[in-house]
Symmetry: C2
Subunit: 107 residues, 2 copies
Amino acid sequence: MNADALRGHMDALLLSVLEREPLHGYAIIEALRARSGGALDVPTGTVYPALRRLERAGLLAGEWASDGGRKRRTYRLTDAGREALAGERSAWRSFTTAIGSVLDPLR
Amino acid sequence: MNADALRGHMDALLLSVLEREPLHGYAIIEALRARSGGALDVPTGTVYPALRRLERAGLLAGEWASDGGRKRRTYRLTDAGREALAGERSAWRSFTTAIGSVLDPLR
DNA sequence: GCCTACATATAGACAGCCTACATATAGACT
DNA sequence: AGTCTATATGTAGGCTGTCTATATGTAGGC
C-alpha cells in the first residue's frame, strides 16, 4: 500500500473502526490490519498523531485506562465524530466514483 | 473534492487519460473534468508539474507543437508509462478494496 | 480597449504520512 | 538472570506532492 494513497483517508479509517466500540491505538492498528485482510498496516507514527489530531478536532474523546500495569488511551466517537464519519463515507463514494470514472475504460 | 485525497492518485489519472490519445496539459484538465462529470477540477499548478515529473520518470514523452500562434506541449504514453498504468490500475483496485473493507460495515 | 478562453509555467505554502527513535510492561523461553 | 517478542504510547524531523497565487502570452468576441 503506497503511503501517499492513504492521504486524506486516514480520518475515515480511524472514525470507522471506532464506530462500533471504543478502542485504544494499538488495537486500532490491529483492527485495521484485520479488517483489510492485512493490506493496511499503518505505523504507530501515523496513528497516534492522527488520533490526537482528531481528538483536538472534537471528533474523538480519549481517556486513560489501565489493564494490569499497561496504560492505554481509549478513544471513542463523539457525536461530532459520528457526523464526520457519515461525511467521510459520502466523500469516499464520490471520490471512488470520480477516480473510477477516469480509470475505468468502460463507463 | 478534497485536495489531500488526490495524493498518490494523480499519476494514475494522468496516465489513464493519455491512454487512448496524446493530449496537451490544458486538454488533459478538460478531459479529467469531462470524464468525472465535473467532480475533478485539477488546477494547472498541479497538472503541469506532475506531467514534468512523469516525463522525467520516463512514463510520458512530451513534445512541443504549434496550433496557430499557440504553443502546446503534447504528452504521450511511453511503453514504461503503459506498464505503469497497468500497475496503477491494479493498485487502485487493491486500495479501494482495502479502504472499502474498513469503511463498508457490510463486508 | 477589454474580457474571456486557451495555454504553460514557477515559487512558496501547507499538511499529513512516514521513518526512526525513545520508553516501558508482560510473558515465554533459555 | 538475560533475552526476546508482543503489547502500548509517543515525538522529532523528513519528505513529497498538491495547492494558491502569480506571471506570461495568444486568439477571438464584443
